[in-house]
Symmetry: C2
Subunit: 190 residues, 2 copies
């Protein structure tokens, strides 16, 4: 394909993940910082779509953004769409503290991509798992040191690039990049 896609984010960790995943599909990702206001909602799709709409006028076609969150079952889905704010205030230690003595440690990471190419397209990826009892690992960012995906014993932060194969972001971006590739194949085969 050889396409370059603009990814709107101020989070370099996210950008690096998308860049690595895109390269497997022949998509080059360019990091673009642009300012927009996320709305408060418990629905990631709604937040991502609203953000995408805010930027469509100024950026034009051919960009995407992503909203992601960690949803902890026994905390009613907290921190959910507010993961970034919660991470920057109470952090991993805060989540561990809220779960002290809690047996139900189930959680899931969700990623929603919004791509604007004249129309808005949403792609969702999820990974279920559980919250560890202590922080482990140095890779990744955010809540990665306390999230252990189902079927694994290591946290996302202990996995390094292997996280790219199984994460919520791997799943949303795989659907996204495959859809792009198919569209591009359709467009150019006729």
């Amino acid at each position: 394909m050889g396409e370059t896609l603009r990814f709107v984010t101020s989070n370099r960790g996210k950008y690096e993940e998308f860049r690595r995943m895109g390269s497997r599909f022949g998509v080059e990702i360019e990091m673009v910082e642009a300012s927009y206001r996320e709305i408060q909602s418990d629905d990631l799709e709604e937040i991502a779509l609203d953000s995408c709409r805010q930027l469509a006028g100024s950026l034009g076609e051919g960009f995407f953004l992503e909203d992601a969150g960690l949803f902890v079952d026994s905390l009613g889905g907290f921190p959910g769409p507010f993961s970034s704010y919660v991470y920057s205030t109470i952090g991993n230690d805060g989540i561990l503290r809220l779960l002290e003595g809690e047996e139900d440690r189930r959680a899931r990471f969700v990623s929603v991509i919004c791509h604007f190419d004249g129309e808005y397209h949403l792609f969702r990826g999820e990974v279920v798992g559980k919250i560890s009892t202590e922080k482990r690992g140095e890779a990744g960012f955010g809540f990665d040191p306390i999230f252990v995906p189902e079927g694994h014993t290591r946290t996302f932060a202990e996995m390094g690039p292997k996280k790219d194969l199984i994460s919520h972001r791997a799943r949303s971006s795989e659907i996204f990049f495959r859809t792009l590739a198919e569209g591009s194949a359709r467009c150019c085969s006729g």
Copy 2:
């Protein structure tokens, strides 16, 4: 004055407080439910102003709304502008748990009113205090059972209507209602 002001909220507890406080200034408050989207920001003024702007077109002149939050010092200001979401997920128990063993229990409640009368006017009220070590009291709503204002021993939820004299909301609304009364006096004296 005999004026009726529309207050946009879906929180009956807040409405009751404003109604009681308004009556001391001769202002009648009508509760109006109207849908708007709060933005994510750590600045209550910015959130309130944005919400007010969203509603000005449909509601016209003569309404106000309020955004409030509990800011806990040792938690980096958490839950702050996301107090309503945090209350509905981890609740008072969550905040108490995050502060277990913590000596620094300082916190403040902040209320920001945005009033639209053709122009936008912002009014801020704050009350400092500390987070109690357990929930106490049945009155009020939200984080009232764990907040003890400075110079007092009872929580807001133990105070009942006495909260109306010292709360963040008492302070923001007093400035608001006094400003209204002065404007109204100016307008009608000439």
